[in-house]
C-alpha cells in the first residue's frame, strides 16, 4: 500500500486484501459488534427482564434445597407430559437466583423447537405480567454465530471468519511498516487518517483478532470440517460419544413406554454426583429407548482462570426402567492433548474464564476490531471519492454508490438496530399475539428497524445518510434511560441505590456510545462546513477571474 516498489506478489495480496475485505467487511462488522455486545449477554438479559425481581422477592423456591429442586423437576415433567408426551426431546433448566423460572425447551416429533417458562412454586406457565418474553442478550450471541438462521447461519459466519483470517494474513503481508505504524496516527488528514486508524486498530489488536477468528472456527470444528469424522465414525454422535467418553445416543425402538418419575431419578442423580443438578434432558420420551440425563450445576466462579474446564458432572438413566446407565464425576478432566486444546480454544473464545475484567477486555478489543473493519470499508470509498479508479468501467458509479449505501446500513444502521432492540424491549406490549411469541416479535422488529436504515441509506445522499443515522443512533442511546424510566420506572438512580451494577453498567455504556456518536457527528459537521467554505472561496476566485 504505502510501499514504493510493488512486487507482483505484494500487488496480488493488496488486491486480495482490498476486494476480499470489501465483500467480507459488512458481515464481519455485524459479527464483531454483536459478538462484543454478546460478551455481556447476561447483564443485557438482566436489564431486559425487569419483571424477574418481583418473582425473586416473593418465591418460596430455594435453589439450595434438594426437595425444591426435585419438586421443580416434577413440575417440568408434569407440564411436558401434558403438551408433548411423545416429543423428540425434553430439556429443562432449574431456577436460580438470577432467573427464577423453570425454563422448558422441547422438540416435537418433527424436531420443531418450542419453549415455555413455569413459575417455580406453582408450576404454572408464567403470566405475561411476570415474564417479559424476550431473548435478552442471547439475541446478540445468536446474531454473532448464526444470524438467527440455524446451521446455514453457522456456515455463513464460518465463511466470513475464514475471509477474516485471509484478510489479516494478506493485510500483514502488504503492510511493511507494521512496527513503525504501531506508533503512527495522523489526525485530521482525511484519507491518511482513515488509513492510520485502520492500521493502528488492526496492528495493535492483531494477536487478538487472529486468536478470536481462529478459535471461532475451532468452536465449530466438527461442523466446518467433518471430513475426518465421517471417514472414521458412522456418525458425528458416535464421534462425540467417544470423545466425551459418554454412552452413544440410543436408536428409537418405536415401542411406546411411559417415562418414569423423573423427580426420583433426579434425586438419585444428585446423590451419585454428590452435587446439585441444574439441567435435565429426556431423549425421545414415550419411546422405550428414552434416556434421562441430569447435568450438574455449572459453577463459573469456582472455575475462574481455567481454560480447560472440568466436567460439572452428569448422570444418565434409562428413563423407563430408572436404571442408571452412566455417571461422570464432577471435576473429571477432559482427556487427550488435542481435545484439551480444542476445549481451551472454546473457553478463550467465550471469554468466560476471568470474570468482568476479561469480559471488558474482550468487549474493547472486539469493538476495536469493529473499528478496524469499519474504517477499512470507509477508507475504500474515501480513496475512490478523491480519485475514481473506474474498476468497473461504465458501471463504476453504480458500484461505488452500492458500496456507500451498504457501508452506512451495515455500520450506523446496525448500531441503530442494536440499541433500537432495547427500545423495542421496553415499548412492545407484554402481551402480543403470534406464533413466535413476544421474543420473536422483538427480534423481528430488530430486523425491520435495520431494513429501514438500509432504505434510508439508499434514499439519501451518502454524507447526509451518515450524519442522520449517527444522529439517530446518538438520540436512541441518550434517550434510552428516559424510555426506561417512563415504561418500567427504572433508571440510573434506582440502579445505583439498589447496587444493581449490571443494569447500571448497561445504561452507562450505552450513554457513552451516544456521546461518542455525537462527537463523531460534530467532526463530520465541521468537515462538511470546511469543504463548503473551500468550494465557496474557489467559486469566488473563479468569479473574480471571470469578472
Amino acid at each position: 500500500m504505502q510501499s514504493t516498489e510493488k512486487t507482483p506478489f505484494r500487488q496480488a495480496m493488496s488486491a486480495l486484501h482490498t476486494w476480499g475485505s470489501l465483500i467480507a467487511g459488512w458481515m464481519l462488522f455485524v459479527i464483531f459488534v454483536t459478538g462484543s455486545i454478546g460478551v455481556f449477554d447476561e447483564p443485557v438479559s438482566h436489564w431486559m427482564q425487569p419483571e424477574r425481581a418481583s418473582i425473586l422477592s416473593t418465591m418460596d423456591y430455594d435453589p439450595d434445597s434438594a426437595t425444591d429442586r426435585q419438586a421443580a423437576v416434577g413440575k417440568a415433567q408434569a407440564y411436558l407430559q401434558q403438551v408433548e408426551p411423545n416429543g423428540h426431546l425434553w430439556f429443562a433448566t432449574l431456577p436460580d437466583l438470577e432467573d427464577p423460572a423453570i425454563k422448558l425447551f422441547w422438540q416435537d416429533a418433527d424436531e420443531n423447537p418450542h419453549q415455555a417458562k413455569l413459575h417455580p412454586d406453582s408450576g404454572e406457565i408464567l403470566p405475561a405480567s411476570m415474564d417479559r418474553g424476550t431473548e435478552g442478550g442471547h439475541h446478540f450471541v445468536h446474531m454473532h454465530f448464526e444470524l438467527h438462521s440455524g446451521t446455514l447461519g453457522i456456515w455463513i459466519v464460518g465463511f466470513f471468519t475464514l475471509l477474516m483470517l485471509v484478510a489479516l494474513i494478506s493485510g500483514v503481508i502488504i503492510h511493511r511498516r507494521i512496527f513503525k505504524d504501531f506508533f503512527t496516527f495522523r489526525a485530521r488528514k482525511g484519507q491518511r487518517s482513515w488509513l492510520d486508524a485502520h492500521n493502528a486498530s488492526g496492528v495493535l489488536t492483531l494477536p487478538f483478532q487472529l486468536m478470536i477468528a481462529f478459535t471461532g472456527l475451532a468452536v465449530f470444528v466438527s461442523v466446518y470440517m467433518p471430513a475426518a469424522i465421517f471417514a472414521h465414525y458412522n456418525s458425528p454422535e458416535a464421534f462425540f460419544a467417544e470423545v466425551f467418553e459418554r454412552p452413544a445416543p440410543r436408536e428409537m425402538t418405536h415401542e411406546a413406554a411411559p417415562v418414569a418419575n423423573l423427580g426420583q431419578m433426579f434425586a438419585k442423580a444428585e446423590q451419585a454426583m454428590g452435587k446439585p443438578g441444574q439441567f435435565i434432558r429426556v431423549e425421545h420420551p414415550g419411546d422405550s429407548s428414552a434416556t434421562f440425563t441430569v447435568f450438574g450445576l455449572f459453577d463459573a466462579e469456582a472455575l475462574q482462570g481455567r481454560l480447560v474446564l472440568p466436567s460439572s458432572g452428569m448422570a444418565e438413566f434409562d428413563a423407563v426402567s430408572s436404571q442408571q446407565r452412566h455417571i461422570e464425576a464432577p471435576g473429571a478432566e477432559p482427556q487427550g492433548a488435542a481435545f484439551r486444546t480444542q476445549r481451551a480454544m472454546r473457553t478463550l473464545h467465550f471469554a468466560n474464564f476471568g470474570g468482568y475484567t476479561v469480559r471488558w477486555l474482550y468487549f474493547l478489543l472486539g469493538m476495536t476490531g469493529a473499528v478496524m473493519i469499519a474504517s477499512g470499508s470507509i477508507l475504500f470509498m474515501v480513496k475512490r471519492r478523491q480519485r475514481a479508479l473506474n474498476e468497473f468501467g461504465n458501471a463504476t458509479p453504480r458500484v461505488y454508490r452500492t458500496v456507500d449505501v451498504l457501508n452506512v446500513a451495515a455500520i450506523s444502521g446496525l448500531l441503530i438496530a442494536c440499541v433500537g432492540y432495547l427500545w423495542i424491549n421496553r415499548l412492545l406490549p407484554l402481551e402480543v399475539a403470534g406464533r413466535a411469541g413476544r421474543a420473536g416479535w422483538e427480534v423481528g422488529l430488530f430486523f425491520a428497524l435495520w431494513a429501514i436504515t438500509l432504505l434510508h441509506s439508499a434514499l439519501r445522499p451518502v454524507n447526509q445518510a451518515w450524519r442522520e443515522q449517527l444522529l439517530g443512533f446518538a438520540a436512541l442511546c441518550l434517550l434510552l434511560p428516559f424510555v426506561n424510566a417512563f415504561t418500567v420506572g427504572e433508571h440510573l438512580l434506582t440502579y445505583l441505590t439498589e447496587r444493581n451494577w449490571r443494569a447500571a453498567g448497561v445504561e452507562l455504556t450505552i450513554i457513552s456510545f451516544g456521546l461518542l456518536a455525537l462527537k463523531a457527528l460534530q467532526k463530520l459537521r465541521r468537515k462538511a462546513a470546511a469543504n463548503k467554505s473551500q468550494t465557496a472561496s474557489v467559486k469566488i476566485e473563479q468569479a473574480g477571474v471571470r469578472g
Partner: protein
C-alpha cells in the same frame, strides 16, 4: 482466452472450493497417519485444516494463474485422499 469476470470467478472458486477440498483432503490424510488415538488424530487433523485453508487461498491469489491454481488445489488433494484411502483399507 477467457473474459475477465469469468477469470475472476474461476479464481475465487479455486480459492473457496479448491481450498476447502485441499483442507478436507489434508484432514483425511493427517487423521490417517497421525500416530495418536483415533479421536485425538481426528481433532488434531480437523483443527489443522483451519491453517491449511487460509494458506491455500493466499496461494491461489499469489499464483495469478487460474489453471495452475486449480491444479495446485486438485492434484495434491487427490493424492492425499488416495493415500488416506489406501491406509484405511490396509489397516482394516
Amino acid at each position: 482466452m477467457t473474459s475477465k469476470p469469468l477469470a475472476i470467478s474461476l479464481q475465487a472458486l479455486a480459492a473457496i472450493l479448491g481450498g476447502y477440498l485441499l483442507a478436507s483432503a489434508s484432514t483425511l490424510f493427517l487423521s490417517a497417519i497421525l500416530p495418536l488415538s483415533k479421536t485425538e488424530a481426528v481433532i488434531t487433523a480437523s483443527l489443522f485444516s483451519f491453517v491449511v485453508y487460509p494458506i491455500a487461498i493466499i496461494w491461489v491469489y499469489a499464483r495469478q494463474d487460474v489453471k495452475r491454481a486449480w491444479l495446485g488445489m486438485v492434484v495434491p488433494s487427490v493424492i492425499l485422499i488416495a493415500i488416506a484411502w489406501l491406509l484405511s483399507k490396509g489397516l482394516s
